[in-house]
Structure formats: C-alpha cells, structure tokens
C-alpha cells in the first residue's frame, strides 16, 4: 500500500485557489505515489423535505477515496447511495459538511466551474444508461468531448477508439434503441471515459442488466480502471457485483455502517460470484 499523505496538513476548508496541498500531491504523483485522496467527504449531511417532513438522506458521511481505487457503495435503496453520488458528482450540494474533489470544495464552485468539473473530472454511468436517444452511439460518446471544446474530427476519432475499446466497434452508428441494454451501458461507459476523467461514478450500473451482462460491465470497469488510471465509485445493492472492489462501503439509513477491504471480502464470501447470502 502506498504511503498515506499527511492528512493533518490538508486544511478542512479549502477553496479553489492558492493552497499548497494539490501541488504537493502532484509532486508525490510524479514520485509514483498516487496516494492523494481524490474524493473526500467530510461530515456530509443532506436533508430532503417530503411533504413538509424532513428526511435525513445523509446523516454525516465521512469518506476518503484514493486515486485509482475501486470503491463500491453498498446499501439498500433509500440508504442514501444516490444522494452521496450526486454530492460527489457535483450535482447536489450538502446541507452540512464538505465534499472535496482533488481537494477542491465542490460547494465553492460557480456554475462554469461545476460544469467543467462534470465535464472533465467526472464520468457518470447511470442505472438507466441515459444515452441521448436521438444520437448514435458515437455521437453520444462525442458529446462530452464537444462540450470540452474538442474539435469534431478529434472527438469522432477518439469516440470511435473508445467504442472499440468497450467492444462496440461494429455498432458505432447505431441509435440507442437499436442496442441491447448491455451494449447501451457499454456506450455509457465509453462516454464516461471520453474526457479522461479522474473519477467514474457508476450509480447502480448493473441495475437494469441481467446477471451475466452486469458482470461483464463490472469486469470491464475493473479493466478500464487500470488502463485509464481512473478512480471508480460504484453503487450497488447486489452482492454479486462487488468482485472488482478494493473496498466496499456499507451505507445504511444515511450513514456508513462499516467498511470492508478486498481481503476481508474474500474471507467473507469465498468466491465472490453466486453467493447471495452476504452481509446486510
């Protein structure tokens, strides 16, 4: 395990400018120590009001994710997985606490910076694929690149390469309706990687897929994590999908109940496939 950065030196609240920590991080990275926490949630609380009644979606979540880690968030529906994902993805802001992406407080970003963050730093994969229905597979993958200012030709070339990488080389001009669920999710994976993000957030990526296809997607994510040096955070409530995880964070009723490392998982589950008894 790489050396941990001295967390004490990282200030609690850090704005988008002039702090020494990320610089130091860069130096560490050059030295091959990719150990800086790319995601840091500190005391994140979020309250929703449903019909006037407050619902504590998150009750103070502390979580740090290292660069290159594959973290699965496990928990029943309603446990706050999606809320936590939205916070980390810069789609929502905590009522209390802070979310840092590369040590930048997401809450401190303006609209343009948030859009930039979503475009460049984060790749999203959704349960329902969320491809643009009127656009072909390659156009879907090109969208984030065009938003990032890449030229049409460059975006096209890279999108084609990415689709080939996820095994869809022959179907790049198909519209989403002409693709199976697994193929659509592959397009979504390619799209998530389009701008070389630091983090891929996958919210129940296998939720709408059958077991076999779901496993394929998870294996692919695991492989891509290595190839693209991305940090993967994946939410699931399916024990079978934990195989690729370095760590599994169990979320229950808006709080982290416990965290397991890969080694502990192995002991618990024996083989990670087909065993549905698990924790919980």
């Amino acid at each position: 395990m790489p050396e941990k950065p001295q967390e004490a030196e990282v200030p609690e609240v850090m704005l988008a400018t002039e702090t020494a920590a990320p610089k130091r991080g860069a130096e560490e990275d050059k030295a091959g120590l990719l150990a800086v926490h790319v995601i840091r949630a500190v005391g994140v609380k979020r309250i929703f009001y449903l019909g006037g009644e407050p619902v504590n979606a998150l009750r103070g979540v502390d979580l740090s994710v290292k660069r290159g880690e594959y973290v699965s968030i496990m928990g029943p529906s309603g446990s706050g997985k999606t809320t936590l994902f939205n916070m980390i993805g810069g789609l929502d802001k905590p009522d209390q606490g802070h979310v840092y992406i590369d040590e930048v407080d997401v809450a401190a970003l303006d609209t343009f910076e948030l859009a930039w963050l979503r475009c460049h730093k984060i790749g999203y994969i959704f349960q329902t694929f969320n491809l643009i229905p009127v656009a072909s597979a390659i156009e879907n993958v090109m969208f984030p690149m065009l938003f990032a200012g890449t030229t049409q030709a460059e975006a096209q070339q890279k999108a084609a390469e990415l689709l080939k990488r996820v095994g869809l080389g022959a179907r790049i001009f198909h519209k989403p309706v002409a693709l199976s669920g697994g193929q659509q999710q592959r397009v979504a994976v390619a799209r998530a990687l389009a701008n070389d993000p630091a983090i891929v957030l996958a919210d129940e990526p296998t939720g709408n897929l059958d077991l076999h296809t779901g496993e394929e997607i998870i294996r692919m994510l695991e492989g891509l994590k290595e190839d693209f040096h991305v940090t993967v955070m994946s939410a699931t409530h399916d024990h079978k999908m934990l195989a690729a995880s370095d760590r599994v964070v169990y979320l229950s009723d808006g709080a982290i109940s416990h965290i397991k490392r890969r080694e502990e998982l192995d002991i618990k589950f024996g083989t990670l496939q087909g065993d549905d008894k698990g924790v919980g």
């Binding site: 988008a16 400018t17 990320p22 610089k23 991080g25 860069a26 990275d29 050059k30 091959g32 990719l34 790319v38 660069r67 939205n86 993805g89 789609l91 929502d92 590369d102 930048v104 970003l109 609209t111 343009f112 910076e113 859009a115 930039w116 963050l117 979503r118 475009c119 460049h120 730093k121 999203y124 959704f126 329902t128 969320n130 491809l131 643009i132 229905p133 009127v134 656009a135 969208f143 984030p144 065009l146 938003f147 990032a148 200012g149 049409q152 890279k158 390469e161 990415l162 990488r165 799209r191 990687l193 701008n195 070389d196 630091a198 190839d227 693209f228 040096h229």
Partner: protein, 232 residues
C-alpha cells in the same frame, strides 16, 4: 488511444490541474444538434410549423391584398373602384369597424399560433427532462440548453414564416388576377408589399422565438438531479 495513454507523470499532473472554466460550445455545433433534434422529431415539427404557416399566410394575405386594393384605388383606376366597392373590398378600407374586425382575426390567428408554439416547446422540454439532465451531467452549460431550444424554435419559425408568407402573397396575386385581370401586374405596389413581407417575416420569427423563451429558460434552469429524477 493516444490522448488517454499519456505517460504516467503527465497523466498524474493533469489530474491535479485546477478546476477550469467550462467553455461555450461553438455556435455551429449547437446549430448541428438543434437541427438533428428537429429532423428526428419531424412530425411534431411539421405540426408546429403548419400552425405558423397558416397564421402567417393569413396575416400576409390581409396586409398585401389591403395594400393592393389601396394602390389600385389611389391610382384612380375608376373602373376597378366600382368593382371594389361592389365587392365590399374598398368599403372595408374606409370602414373602421370592418378593419378592426379583420385585425381581430389576424390577432387571433397569431395568438393561436403563438400558443401552439409555446405548448409544443413546453412539451418538447418536458419529454426531454432526462436528456437535458444528462447533457448537464456531461458538462453542458445553461446557455447551451437555451440556445438549443431557441434554435430549434427559430428553425421552425423561419421555415413556417417563409412558407406562410409565400402562400399569402400568392393568394393576394391570384385574387388580384381574378379581380383586375392582367393589368393588375402594373398596379402591384412592389415596394410597399416588400416592406409588408419584411414585417411579416419579423413578426413570424419573433413570435416563435418569444414563444420558446420560457420553455428554454425552464429547461436551462432545471437542476440535473431533478431533471433525471423526473418521471414522465
């Protein structure tokens, strides 16, 4: 994968790049996307466009035939004046009540087409909640969303208006031929009618853009989370 397979240190360094400022999508790309959206939903687009065509054809016809009749009367073509009076056309020119009535009709036609556009664009926004949310997740700025909806509406507006105006002018001329015969061609107030066509063009296009403003604004202001959670 040339750009993603940078050397390790470059890659690591880029990961630590500061949060940047999202750039505007070049206008030509926005046009391309909007154009495709129309093409894909062609049937709906044609429905909206047909409303604009009808309203603008009516407006153009009223304005141009009015202008033609006035011109003929002013040129002192007495043999036509009698006919115009008989047909009630010239009387309308002086008859304030009849004119008000005509303008009411024109106003209503425009209002109907305006409401049609508003409705179609709101529907278009509603059925694309998820798409808008996804676009925002991928880094689309609010401005782009507004641009897309306004462009879409403008395409429909310009095409509908152009067709509507053509129909209106043709109607005026065909009717003129019937009423005044071939000499009508010497009496067409070309300059005046060109100006009227210009006004109709502005009115039609303006109407569609104004009708799309609120739906576009609503789409852009939507938070991505809400947009994607929305069940339709």
């Amino acid at each position: 994968m040339s750009s993603s397979a940078d050397s390790g240190s470059d890659r690591a360094e880029s990961l630590h790049g500061r949060i940047g400022h999202q750039v505007q999508l070049p206008f030509v790309n926005a046009v391309r996307i909007a154009w495709r959206n129309i093409r894909v939903r062609l049937a709906r687009s044609l429905l909206v466009t047909s409303g604009i065509i009808l309203a603008l054809a009516f407006l153009t016809y009223i304005l141009c035939s009015d202008s033609l009749a006035r011109n003929i009367a002013e040129q002192g073509q007495t043999r036509y004046v009698e006919q115009l009076l008989k047909q009630g056309i010239l009387a309308d020119l002086g008859d304030a009540d009849a004119r008000v009535q005509t303008w009411w009709l024109v106003g209503l036609a425009l209002l109907v087409s305006f409401v049609g556009i508003l409705n179609a664009m709101l529907l278009s926004v509603t059925e694309r909640f998820k798409e808008i949310g996804t676009m925002k997740c991928l880094g689309a700025l609010d401005g782009l969303i507004v641009q897309l909806f306004l462009l879409e509406s403008t395409f429909q507006g310009v095409v509908g208006t152009a067709i509507g105006i053509t129909i209106g002018v043709l109607l005026t001329l065909v009717e003129g031929m019937g009423l005044y015969g071939a000499t009508m061609w010497t009496l067409v107030p070309v300059g005046n009618m060109a100006a009227l066509v210009g006004i109709c063009l502005l009115a039609g296009t303006g109407l569609t853009i104004v009708g799309a403003l609120y739906p576009a604004w609503r789409a852009a202001k939507m938070q991505p989370v809400d947009a994607m959670r929305a069940e339709i």
